[in-house]
């Protein structure tokens, strides 16, 4: 009923146009307000300037050595993406493995779960000084923070998923002659897959938050570093371009993960 009403109401306007309308209006309004002087361009750069800066940052040739925002975007983006990939990858491997054990074996739950629950409420940002002292101002600091931050949602969701494996499926497997170890891999893990992917998505989101935090304070490269450094130069145009860069990469990586999940969970009733 609802979709019929929507179609008849706005039949002439294609979906893509409808959905782009609001962002376009906001950007035009933003540009206009800066141009007429309602917004101070020293603090808020107009979108046209941000785009130009972004373009130079990505495609510019390094003629002026003094300007770090000419043609350096790709290496910054790559640095950040590599840290996210390393930290998230490690968190995924450890989180899924540990979460499965904690969810399945009582002994593992007793041994490991209290420690996880003890550490989990500590905000990851509170680990920053420790990370710098331990790993120094290097990539390892960032990878550690990202890994730790992504680990918790992954391990918690994996544990929940494995705990919620329908007992009747375990019975079915046992009655078909499946051994307990085999049941872990052939029943518990696949049954927990929807929860595991939920954890991975949450973890990936946290990873992009933390790469920026880490690069602002603990590492001297990447998009987070560019973001923080440009603040010292009052390059608000770079700040905005960097913000959208991080947002774009985060969005892209989430889409990729969702694609993978949609394929891996094509059997699930609702995903």
């Amino acid at each position: 009923m609802r979709s019929v009403a929507r179609r008849t109401g706005r039949g002439a306007v294609p979906a893509a146009v409808r959905r782009l309308l609001t962002p376009v209006i906001v950007v035009l309004l933003w540009e206009g307000l800066v141009r007429v002087g309602v917004l101070d361009r020293r603090f808020i750069p107009p979108p046209s300037v941000v785009l130009a800066t972004w373009f130079v940052w990505i495609f510019g040739r390094g003629t002026t050595i003094s300007d770090p925002y000419v043609g350096t975007w790709l290496s910054s983006a790559r640095d950040s993406a590599v840290r996210v990939a390393l930290g998230f990858g490690a968190a995924a491997v450890v989180g899924v493995a540990l979460g499965t054990l904690v969810g399945w074996f009582r002994a593992a739950e007793d041994l490991v779960d209290p420690l996880i629950q003890l550490l989990r409420p500590i905000p990851i940002t509170a680990w920053v000084p420790f990370a710098i002292i331990f790993f120094g101002f290097y990539t390892m600091s960032a990878v550690f923070l990202i890994g730790l931050g992504a680990f918790f949602p992954i391990v918690v969701n994996t544990t929940a998923g494995v705990r919620q494996v329908p007992p009747i499926l375990v019975r079915a497997a046992r009655m078909l002659g499946t051994g307990s170890g085999e049941i872990l891999f052939r029943v518990a893990l696949p049954a927990a897959l929807p929860s595991i992917f939920t954890g991975l998505r949450l973890g990936l989101g946290v990873a992009w938050v933390l790469v920026i935090v880490a690069e602002m304070v603990a590492v001297k490269s990447g998009l987070g570093y560019a973001l923080w450094n440009s603040y010292y130069y009052l390059r608000t145009d770079v700040i905005v371009a960097a913000m959208f860069s991080v947002g774009g990469l985060g969005f892209l990586s989430d889409r990729i993960l969702v694609r993978i999940a949609a394929h891996a969970l094509r059997w699930a009733e609702a995903f």
Binding site: P166, R174, M175, G177, A191, W267
Partner: protein, 261 residues
């Protein structure tokens, strides 16, 4: 060859929330012969599924013992295939993969065996579908094929057709009888439907309300397929109805009293 011997089996559960012990089965004894098709009939909550779970090895009896060909049952095993009311298919596996689940040996052999059972239950063309894409009747066929593929001596069926619509149920009953005629397994079929039991079984065990006891054993010496409107069947139905109705009423009164108290 499989003979099931149930000796003085009692089972009680601890209801933690109410802090009381509930007797589910009380001194059940019977012997189910090789290749027999036996139905266990009783009002809901009478412990008939509990008995089946003990036969399957999912639960242990509190007292008494259960033997398969003279050996006590310790755990579930592929000699006793279970068909669950809820199908219990692995949703992440296709029809073919579900049927292959319990098979051993080389991939090619497993695949060929599974295909044979896909044929047997009439699901050719659906091998690569996932359970969510199948109707209830089709899912139960997969569940049956999955169990038959491991070639158990005993088939334990826990109200397998209860969730199906009436027409599908009739069709499934007929096909189950055909498969049974061909494979000659020992079948223990739990149901609360008198007509279903009369359609399928060689012998009926009528169970009382909780704690479940065997009230009566009725042999059905009629050729299959049976005409449920035949006079002998009507007589049996009347007799069973009387037995079960009394039990249902007794169970209801007891529950009402328990709530009052």
């Amino acid at each position: 060859m499989a003979v099931l011997t149930i000796e003085n089996v009692s089972k009680s559960f601890r209801d933690v929330s109410r802090g009381e012990t509930i007797a589910a089965l009380h001194e059940v004894s019977c012997t189910i012969g090789d290749q027999e098709f036996v139905a266990i009939l009783g009002p809901s909550g009478c412990g008939k599924s509990t008995l089946l779970n003990i036969l399957a090895g999912f639960d242990a009896p509190s007292h008494g013992r259960v033997l398969v060909d003279g050996r006590p049952i310790a755990r579930p095993g592929p000699d006793r295939g279970v068909v669950f009311q809820e199908y219990a298919l692995f949703p992440w596996l296709t029809v073919q993969q579900n049927i292959e689940f319990g098979l051993r040996g080389r991939a090619a052999d497993r695949s060929a065996t599974a295909r044979r059972y896909v044929e047997l239950v009439g699901l050719r063309g659906f091998e690569h579908r996932y359970p969510k894409e199948l109707s209830g009747g089709m899912r139960q066929r997969v569940s049956l094929a999955r169990v038959l593929a491991v070639d158990p001596a005993v088939l334990l069926m826990d109200e397998p057709f209860a969730a199906l619509d009436a027409l599908t149920r009739q069709l499934m009953q007929r096909e189950l009888l055909e498969i049974w005629a061909r494979t000659r397994k020992t079948v223990v079929f739990v149901t609360h439907s008198i007509d279903e039991a009369l359609t399928l079984a060689d012998r009926l065990y009528i169970m009382s309300a909780r704690p479940g006891r065997i009230l009566e054993v009725i042999d059905i010496d009629l050729p299959r397929p049976r005409d449920l409107a035949a006079p002998q069947v009507n007589d049996l139905r009347g007799r069973i109805n009387g037995l079960i109705e009394g039990e249902v009423r007794r169970a209801f009164m007891e529950r009402a009293q328990a709530l009052d108290g």
